[in-house]
Amino acid sequence: MSGMLDGLRIADLTIVTAGAAATQVLADFGADVIKIEGVSRPDLYRGGIAGDIGDDVAFPPFRTANRNKRAIAVDLKTPEGLEVVRRVVATSDVVTENFRRGVVERLGLGFNDLIAIRPDIVLASISSQGLTGPSSHFISFGLTLDALGGVMSYSGYDSDSPIWSSARINYPDQTANSLGPALIIAAVLASRRDGQARWLDLSQRETVTMLMGDQVLRTSLTGENPVPTGNSTPDSIEWLTPSSGDDVWVAISLRSPEELELVASVVGADLAGAGDEAARAALVRAATERWSASRSDTDGAATLRAAGVVAVPVRSGEQLLDDPYLRSRGWWQEVSVPGGGTERQRGWAVAFDEGGPDGIRRNGPRIGEDTFEVLGELGYGPDEIASLVERAVVSAPATAPQR
């Protein structure tokens, strides 16, 4: 077991990926993350966003985003169910949530409710647009935040076709779940220093915008907005060149106009009398496309790299499973999957020389998989737990071991 985050306990109400993949990072490094789900309304990500995959742990990304966590299933709308969660909170440093604004208050788990339970609690709220402001009650999915956050306005083939990061990537969720762990730890350290509770308000929309400070500054000074320009930018010489095969490409990224000559020497472009930089770039690009079209992406990229040019094949995500460097780093983590066999899940957020995790301790949990264990730790006796189960205040899989 890791141990770097030993002593950190999270009452985790987050769902899908903006929140759940954030607490996954904390769980990976040894935090005790208790995933709290409704008896009848579990994390909707279990069945895939469209709900067509199945339930429980059938959806592969769910298994990754919730590994190393324990899970309890509680009917939060009953007083006894709420009491279960209040006891979890009393033993936790942090409550994490990414519900719509106002939901935790309606559940009886608002900031003031939590302070009454534990005066130094951290409530970490990951939301679309923050806790305050006229749009704080608006709802979104990741794609919406690509648009509202601004990155979409300069992504795409041309100015009439802004493009989002796609439903599969969902860039705004990836930024939130990468930033969230650090902020949660920082808030816990601050609360431990002074004994004061803190409410952390993380806006996903603002996170997208925060990471484009160069464009914000430029527009505020010049009034000019960036627009989509395909794979090049106004300040770089970059493009994709086709390789042999269907939809096979190599990305070329030049650090300076002088590197055009390196590419020209490889692809046989004659730059004599080519005119200005734009004309030279166009000539080299056309020659590169002719040169690369009959070569494999790996051969073309390797030849260009040997000449000192940044050139890499445009790969697909599944090709990363065989990436030599990731394998050499031991990055992929192999775990068992329901029904037999194994799968490889993404590795750790960073690799520590010492003290980091050795492997995945627990698979993504079934609904209420650890209900009995956690309630036992909270002081509930076997008869009390049985009664709560019988009245559907809590639930657990039929095969869950009882204490």
Partner: protein, 372 residues
């Protein structure tokens, strides 16, 4: 140095969580390292950025640029140096090196941009850094890792998006894959490095010991594009480039609108658009709408081309539809949401004027604060 924007009306934002005595030193320059340092500054730390002579100066050389020929500056550099102490060091100068060593000895966090081999050749190996600062958290962020074929290549956002599978999913199948604008993967590398710093600091509270971690922008990219491999191994079909479950980008009279709606939102969408042709049975189901997407978008755009994208945003949100407009940077600067939250701060750019930078994307409230 930045200051509150929008005059005195800017809401007070508190993003500080770290002790003001916490010292961070960035060694070398990269976009990811500098973003990580900026976030630590926003968390309340003192950050010093050390640029070495004859090293990469990506923060000066990368666009977008502002100013004229006389006052030409990288907006990237202005942003990522804001709030930090900047030091230029010639590592061949004994006095300068000793000053750097002193700075490193007092550091709580050291962020190194580049490979171990690169910095070892400059006399700043991982062991040397640990010798200077044994209780510091030392994080090294290289572009491509330490040992792979591409290890010696410089950082490139386009190349990262290509090598990681990220851009394979963006765009449409009638065209080549297309990158997401800006520095999304270099940014995620910065965020994950920040996680490493905070994990290390948390452990140090208990053990009193420092820690060393490494990552690369390439590994961060793999971390961000983590779902496709899971689908592939499970034998599940994944969506191809351009397939977005029927989500649409619609033209409005003043820009574009990102129409992401759920199956249960279709009735409300029809009501907002108000065109009876949308009652065609071909559009009744999600599958039908995807199969007839071109005809559907053409019909909807007959209406949306007459509408403001922000009016459409408010109309859809009023019905609980999770859609939004494609905000230009000017839209962001004027956003009532951002203005009300005091999200931008002013920065003086010598010879150019007063500009704006985004603040931290988080705020911290205490028991006495009114959150409304």
């Amino acid at each position: 140095m930045t200051s509150p924007a929008q005059g005195g009306a800017r809401a007070h934002r508190n993003s500080s969580l770290l002790p003001g005595t916490l010292r961070v030193v960035e060694v070398g320059e990269s976009v990811s390292t500098a973003i990580c340092g900026r976030l630590l500054f926003k968390l309340g730390a003192q950050v010093t950025q050390v640029a070495v002579a004859r090293g990469a100066h990506v923060l000066d050389q990368s666009g977008p640029f502002v100013g004229d020929d006389a006052q030409h500056a990288s907006a990237l550099g202005l942003w990522l140096r804001d709030g930090k102490t900047h030091v230029d060091v010639d590592l061949d100068d004994a006095t300068a090196r000793e000053n750097l060593d002193d700075r490193l000895r007092s550091a709580d966090v050291i962020l190194v941009a580049g490979t171990a081999a690169e910095w070892g050749a400059r006399g700043l190996s991982a062991d040397r850094l640990e010798e200077l600062a044994p209780t510091a958290i030392i994080g090294r962020i290289s572009p491509w890792g330490e040992s792979q074929e591409a290890a010696g290549l410089p950082s490139s956002e386009l190349a990262l998006q290509a090598a990681s599978g990220f851009m394979r999913l963006i765009g449409d199948l009638d065209h080549e894959p297309v990158r997401l604008g800006g520095h999304p993967l270099q940014s995620i590398a910065a965020l994950l490095a920040l996680d490493g710093v905070m994990i290390g600091l948390f452990a140090r509270e208990r053990t009193g010991r420092g820690a060393r971690f490494t990552t690369s922008e390439f590994e961060a990219a793999a971390h961000a594009e983590w779902k496709i491999a899971t689908f592939s191994q499970a034998g599940l079909r994944r969506e191809l480039r351009g397939e977005d479950n029927g989500a649409q980008v619609l033209r409005c009279r003043d820009g574009h609108f990102a129409a992401f709606y759920r199956p249960q939102d279709w009735g409300a969408m029809k009501e907002i658009i108000g065109d009876s042709r949308l009652d065609d049975a071909a559009f009744d189901t999600p599958r039908g709408r995807i199969e007839n997407q071109s005809r559907l978008v053409a019909l909807i755009e007959e209406t949306t081309r007459t509408m403001s994208k922000k009016d459409l945003y408010h109309a859809t949100q009023a019905h609980g539809i999770p859609a939004g407009y494609v905000a230009t940077v000017t839209d962001l600067l004027e956003s009532p949401q951002y203005v009300s939250r005091g999200f931008f701060e002013s920065i003086e750019v010598p010879g150019v004027g007063t500009g704006l930078l985004p603040d931290a994307s988080w705020q911290v409230f205490g028991p006495e604060d009114v959150v409304a």
